[in-house]
């Protein structure tokens, strides 16, 4: 256990924990767009930066991303000092220039007092902040269908050769975790379109509701040994079936007792 001071309050933390984990546990609201508990911290959005210092630093301070900075004994953290807020506003200002049409970025910037970017807005902005959360989640799931391509101004999230990704299973995790809701998909009947590919959705054999894609079910079958017939019914019909099965058991035992 180590003890550190966050905004003047002494808190305890496990060794190896990141500052952001501790501040979240303490209920301190630090903005972060690229952070997700399912994947390792990455420090892409830079919004979680905090001011750190130590007694022996003689008044010197440093600015680090809380998601990537492990806790240390005697660390003194300021999460909302005027300098931190100023730096955060600069980042949001730049983000707003890149994503002028993103409601999520606009809202977050407005919350920090930035309503208009001081920079030139990016023409044909796609609202992607290039945090790579989608690619990291895809990697974590074991599909590796998408990645960031190119460098600098040319960096984009795309599939290999910018073609339809052969390893994608259409699970929609990338679209679900995207902090700015950039990744577009379309569910049309039993068809799902994402990343330029079309997937067939499994139809519940009883009620006709669409569940997950056939490719995803097959991947779960091969990777995690889930029998394929588990995917024949939707969750609703699974529950109904369980209830009916229980009913027949109760009825059988009643008949047997009488």
């Amino acid at each position: 256990m180590v003890s550190l001071t966050i905004n003047g309050k002494v808190v305890c933390a496990e060794e190896g924990e990141m500052v952001l984990t501790v501040t979240r546990r303490e209920g301190i609201d630090i903005p972060a767009l690229c952070h997700h508990e399912a994947v390792e911290p990455f420090g892409a959005c830079r919004l979680c930066l905090v001011e750190i210092t130590k007694k022996e630093w003689n008044g010197w301070t440093n600015y680090v991303t809380a998601c990537l900075y492990p806790v240390e004994e005697g660390l003194i953290v300021q999460t909302h000092s005027s300098k931190v807020n100023e730096l955060r506003r600069t980042i949001l200002d730049l983000m707003l220039a890149r994503c002028p049409n993103s409601p999520e970025v606009r809202q977050l910037a407005a919350d920090h007092g930035v309503t208009q970017t001081a920079y030139e807005e990016m023409p044909d902005a796609d609202n992607c902040i290039l945090c790579g959360l989608c690619t990291r989640v895809c990697e974590r799931l074991g599909f590796n269908a998408i990645s960031t391509v190119g460098r600098g101004h040319h960096k984009v999230v795309a599939a290999p050769l910018k073609e339809a990704p052969p390893d994608c299973v259409g699970c929609l995790s990338c679209a679900q975790v995207c902090p700015t809701n950039v990744i577009k998909y379309e569910d049309d009947g039993d068809q799902r379109r994402i990343w330029g590919r079309t997937f067939e959705l499994i139809t519940c054999k009883q009620c006709g509701k669409y569940t997950i894609t056939r490719e995803f079910a097959e991947a779960l079958h091969t990777q995690r040994d889930i029998p394929l017939d588990y995917f024949d019914l939707c969750d609703e019909c699974h529950r109904k079936e369980l209830s009916l099965k229980m009913g027949s058991i109760v009825n059988w035992s009643r008949e047997a007792a009488s």
Binding site: A38, T211, I212, S243, V250
Partner: protein, 145 residues
Amino acid sequence: MKSRLIVTPNLCTGCRTCELACAFAHSVNGKPGRSRIYPLPAGFPDMWTPVVCLHCDDPACAKSCLVDAITRIEETGAMELDNEKCVKCMACVAACPFGCSLHDAQHDMVVKCDLCGGDPVCAHFCPTKALEYRPAMPTKRKAVG
């Protein structure tokens, strides 16, 4: 011995008190969440089954979760879903053979029974004791030989 949520379907009257209790116990920002338990008709007159997660020994939900967001809590024996880790791929919703991982459309999150951390509210409210939280009776086995 560990307590378990014991469901006795022939005592259930289908009053749906458990559903109400669960929805309020799992409210998000003051709005009731989707209930993880509710009685369904069991195919015979006046017969109901309160359908709830069975916290299986070999759980399909945890096996299907590729980010390992569903883990067993040792103290309660419950399979608990960590919503911070969940990427909403819906694998567990599709894979559970009893349909007990649910999608809460209002809050856009996947939910499942977590035994309320060791004190299930539904069992407190069940008027007919169709739901009870107590140590399970060991099954009587006939002596062999």
